[in-house]
Subunit: 189 residues, 4 copies
């Protein structure tokens, strides 16, 4: 069992389809990762006021298997074979925020940003395991968030703090720039 930097749950927890198994043995997933870009969804949980303005931004504190350090992260996970994007988004939000959080999914599946992660070093987003393409959303959440699995804690902070250089430096794979772009997109910063 590994904790994975991209926010992926351990595979035993994933649903199974008989006709089209989204569940993959680790060897199969490793082979697949070398062949095609892997599709992810990512989400920034936010608190909003009654007028729809973002008041707080939620970031996960997560342990990284690659560096051993604690890093900040977005809600994130694979889109499984046969799974709709909305269902993948809701499943990963529930996985990372717990059963008492109530995410309000966007009306449209058009993402606020498309994040491209490459396994080789560069000036953009980076994922040492794979070429991943993530559809990224900002998702208002009400209720209480109780992170599960490998996420240690959910921290709420102001949009200004979330987009600070200090927080960007704590985010893995270059996601600080992605977070700023998402917060700009909704006018939160």
């Amino acid at each position: 069992m590994t904790m994975e930097a991209f926010g992926e749950e351990s595979f035993g927890d994933e649903p199974r389809w008989d006709a089209a198994p989204g569940w993959l043995a680790e060897g199969e997933l490793a082979a697949t990762r070398g062949r095609v870009p892997i599709l992810y969804v990512e989400a920034v949980p936010v608190r909003i006021d009654p007028d729809g303005r973002v008041t707080e931004v939620g970031l996960l504190l997560r342990g990284s298997p690659t560096t051993g350090t604690i890093t900040r992260s977005l809600v994130s996970g694979r889109v499984l074979h046969g799974e709709r994007i909305r269902d993948a988004l809701m499943r990963n939000l529930e996985k990372d925020l717990g059963p008492t959080a109530f995410p309000v999914l966007p009306l449209s599946t058009v993402p606020a940003a498309v994040a491209e992660y490459f396994p080789w070093p560069g000036d953009g987003l980076h994922d040492p395991r794979q070429h991943a393409v993530a559809l990224a959303y900002v998702v208002p959440v009400s209720g209480e968030c109780q992170p599960r699995q490998d996420a240690l804690e959910l921290t709420w902070m102001s949009p200004a703090e979330a987009s600070s250089d200090a927080v960007a430096a704590e985010m893995e794979g270059g996601r600080g720039a992605l977070l700023r772009r998402l917060l700009h997109d909704v006018g939160a910063i």
Copy 2:
């Protein structure tokens, strides 16, 4: 007192600022309308399921002062001087849907469509009174809708029915095409 096709409240109901009155005497508004494009917000109220999918579309039945006929309409109204777009959107939703409706405003003020109405005949959107530019949004609404003022009734229908030719023919000023565009934008049709 006039009922206005664009869904504007009678002016006596508008808030007043001392420093910058959004309230205008009818003569002043008429003069202003001949000078600059007038900024509006428009909204399509929708019901959504827990996954964010649009299940129902709300259209207002409204009396038209220009034709005497009953027409279907979107939530609509002017952005007043000094008023934020979010506040104009919320004020007009409350005006047309009543105090027991709970609209969920979009995270971003970037509209789903920009609708341009011209006072002269053409192949696009038409408003006999003025050159109007409307920022148009799709807005999920929970609670109970009780239309007020000149709106007679709010009708909920499926996205397919709302985008039908029959409903488009009942919409004033060419808004049938605008409604289809908005429903396409959120993937509802």
Copy 3:
């Protein structure tokens, strides 16, 4: 060698990377298709006037391997392992439109629509071979288009004709609805 409905080039034409081969033997691709959603880009080529308004829409006439009939299609193809979305979009536009066409790629990689294709029958988009997720764009093209490979012809038509029921009936996998959504998104219909 097969002609594929999704607009994918025959694999022998794909570029190779040594470190991260996007090229897959047919058996490997078939196995991969049963494991994860496959990422595609799709594009509607359009002609625009100097003001940026869409005047013509280009649709490919393409032979379908599954039905034997001739169908209309969008520019479409896989994002290869290690390939940027912009590069995949340009490569597939060149593949389908020829070397004398000059596509103007969008400033942002945020797509106009996200199209989800499932291998089982349903009321949405359908691809018998796989679960595919396509990022879809509208792309202005100047120069001369000379379709290559399995595309037989490129037909230019008005936005109204391209969004007609007759043309929708000729499009494979339910792409008529996708095309309408894309044309609505840019205000062409």
Copy 4:
């Protein structure tokens, strides 16, 4: 005759319609500005590479009538009565960049951001003359730019420099934040 901070041309240069004059005497415009929000378009001119990536950002150096200092500015101007948004965008680009610049207008009139300027001090965008609402776009430009009228110079800089704190401090009315948002929106920073 004044040079205006919002980038508006002197009124004598504006086109006239007989039926619906967009041209206003200064007294009329002043009265109108106190009554309704005034609609503007704003644009960031950019240079792009063949793949659509932003390589350079153009900012105008402009004299401010309110402070006497030289400030950086975006292309900007009113939407006149009876004028389409596309036409207002093209007219203001030509006004600020000269006749040998070739802007490529966006396919959709949906803006990348909606900028709200208020005449009273606050934490957002500010215009001492009026309540203005600007539809803001990023516009690729080829050809040679020769600023006219009150714009003194057009400076091309990298996206990183354009979004720096130093440049933001030189921009009037808080437009540094707007510029960052627009550059984030197209993935340029």
